[in-house]
Symmetry: C2
Subunit: 396 residues, 2 copies
Amino acid sequence: MELSKRVQEMQFSPIRKFNPIAQKAKEDGKKVYHLNIGQPDVETPACFMEAIRSFDEKVIAYAESGGITVLQDAIIDYFKMYGMDYKRENIMITSGGSEALTMTFLSIINEGDEILMPEPFYTNYHTFATEAGGKLVPITTKAEEGYHYATKEKIEAVITPKTKAICCISPGNPTGNVLTLDEMKLIGEIAKEHDLYIIADEVYREFAYDGRKVTSFGMLDEIADRVIIVDSVSKRFSACGARVGCVVSKNADFMEGMMKIAQGRLCVPTVDQIGAAALYRLPASYYDEMREEYCGRRDAAYEELMKIPGVICQKPGGSFYITVKLPVDDMEDFLMFLLTEFEDNGETVMFAPAEGFYITPGLGKDELRIAYVLNQKDMRRGAELIRLGLEAYKNK
Amino acid sequence: MELSKRVQEMQFSPIRKFNPIAQKAKEDGKKVYHLNIGQPDVETPACFMEAIRSFDEKVIAYAESGGITVLQDAIIDYFKMYGMDYKRENIMITSGGSEALTMTFLSIINEGDEILMPEPFYTNYHTFATEAGGKLVPITTKAEEGYHYATKEKIEAVITPKTKAICCISPGNPTGNVLTLDEMKLIGEIAKEHDLYIIADEVYREFAYDGRKVTSFGMLDEIADRVIIVDSVSKRFSACGARVGCVVSKNADFMEGMMKIAQGRLCVPTVDQIGAAALYRLPASYYDEMREEYCGRRDAAYEELMKIPGVICQKPGGSFYITVKLPVDDMEDFLMFLLTEFEDNGETVMFAPAEGFYITPGLGKDELRIAYVLNQKDMRRGAELIRLGLEAYKNK
C-alpha cells in the first residue's frame, strides 16, 4: 500500500516546518516575532462578517459551481476600477488562490509539461505543479539584481518544446518585485511567440509602492486568450481564512475545462462568498489606506535590515515580503539558533529560510524572507533581532 | 495551447447538464419538481449560523491545515457515539467530501492505477479519479438484485495487479444499498488479501432504515491501517453549502501524505469549520429525527414509483436516493420529453438519468435516479409525474 509517487515527491511547507520549534520557544517563555508567514495582523474589514451575519437562508444549499453571481458581479466591478472588462463567464470563484492554481494546472498541464517559474517563488507552487504532473523550470534571479527576471534573454534561455506556461507573481512573493506594464507586454510577446499560457498571480495587486502603478496582465487585450489571472481576498483584505479567490480568463476553452473540475468539487462555501462580495465592493480609498500602511512597514523593516553588516537587498517595490541575502552559510541553522539559543530581553524572531523558495539545489541557503505583516514598531524590532541574533551567531 | 488530456477526458456533471432546459421550462411557467439533485429542503440546524454569527475574531486568519481543533474534537466525540476511537491526527478537515476524495486519490493513485467502483456510482468519482490519473474499474450491479455487490466472486473478478483501492459508498449513492457489518468484514478480508486501500464514503451514515444498524468500516480494527473514511456535513446536516468534510484514517503514512497536499492549499475556511463543529455536536436525537423524516419520504416515493407499469426496483435501505429501471430505451430522451413537451396541471418533474452513473458503455440507459430530498407530498407528486409522463411518452 504505497503512497502515490507525486505525494512522495512533495515536501512539507518549508514555511511551516519550524513552527513546532517556535512553539517550544514560546512555551519556554520567549516572545517570538513572527515574520515568517504572510498572515497580516491588519483587521479584516468588518463588512465581511457583517455580510455573513445577515445571511438568513434557512438551508445552506450548494452554490453554483462557478460561484455566486453576487460575488462575480462584485469582482467584475472591482476590475472595472482598473479599466478591465469582464463578464460572469470569465470569472470562476475558487477556494482561495490555492485552488485557483491547482485547478489551473490540472486544466492545462500534462505529465512532464514544463512551467517557467522565476525563482525564488512562493513554495506551494511545487505542490500545485506536482499534483498535475508538471515540472517547474526556474528562471533564476539574484538578490544583487533585485530579483529581476523580465528580459527576453533570461526567459527564452529556459524555454523548451515542453514549455506550456509561464508563471508571473507580481507583485512578487517572496521578492517584492513588481512588473511594469512594459515588462508584462514583453512577457506577452514571448508567450505569443512560443505559444504559452501566462499564469498571472496578482493577489498583491494593490501593494505597489513609491508611485508604482497598479498593473495587470488583464490590461493587455492582445494576449487576452492566453492570460489566466489568479486573484484572492486573502492578502488584499486580510481575509486569509475566508479562502475565497478566483480565476479570471477570457479563454473560453480554458474556462470550460475549469468548469468540469469545478463541478466535480461542487462549489465554494456560500457564506464566505457572501462575505467576499462585500470586500470586493470596498471603496478605492481602502486600497490607498492599505498601501500606505504596508509601505510604512516596508520602510521600517527595510531601514532596519540595511543596518546588518554584509546585507544584500534592493528595496522591493511591492507585495509585503522582503528577501535578503546575509553573510550566513546556512540560514536554517541560523534560524534554529535564533529559536533555541538566542534571546534579547526575552525576545527572538522567526523568518522563512529562502532555500525552499528555490528549485535549483544549493541556491537560497544564504537568503531569508520576511513578511512585513506586523506593525512598524514590531517590524523594526523583528529586523533588529535578526541583526542582534546574527552578531551573537557569528560570535558563538 | 491545448488543455490537459485529463480535463479533455472529463465530463460535465451529468446531474447538472439538464439544468438549462429545466430553467427554460420554469421560465415558460411550468412548475418543476427537482428530484434530480441531492440538495435537501430540510432546514440546516440553526446552530450552524449561530456559531458563525458569534465568531468575533478581528482577523479572519489562516486555520491549521489539518483543521481547527474545535472541529476535530467534535468529530472525535461524534465517532465515539458509535464506539469508534480517533485522535486529532487521524482527522483531516477538508472542503467537503469532494476535496477529501480528490486529496485521497492524489495521495494514493499513480497514473494507470485501478480503483474498484461498484456501478452505478456517484458520478463525480470520474473527475476525482481522472485528476489523479487513476482508472475506475466497475463492479457491475443490477436493479434486479438491489444493486448488491458485496460478494467475493463479484469483487475478485475485477481485481488485477494494478488494483490499488476499492471504493464503497455506504449507504449508497445512487442505489441506496447499505452494507452490513459482515459485508464490510468480507470486503476487509479481500482488501487485506490483495493489499488494497478501502475508501469508505460514509456521508449518509445515519440514513439507514427499517431497523438497519449504523455501520462503518471504522468499526473494524483489524483493517484500520487500510481504511480511509470520507465524511461530510453536507447531507447529514443539510449543509451542502458549508463545504466541510473530513478524511479519517489511522494510517499515519497516508495522513502524512495528505498533510503535504493540505499544506499546499493552506486550510479550509475558518467560519464554516466553526459552524460545522456545532453540527457535529448535535444530540443523537437529531439523527433519529432525520432518519424518520427521510424514511417517510422514501416510503412515499417508493410506493408511488412502484405503481409504474414495468418498474424494477428493490426497496433501498439507506441514503436518500432510489434508482429504478423503467421500460424506456433512452432515459435522457424521456427526460427531455418531460421538460419540453409534457405537463400535468402545469407541472412536470426532473430526475437524473442513470447512464452517467455507469462506466460500462450502454448500461443505465433505462434507469433513473431520484433523490428524496423533498417533503412526502412533493415526493409523491414527483413520482406520480414520472408515471403520468411515461404514459404520455409511450402514447406519443
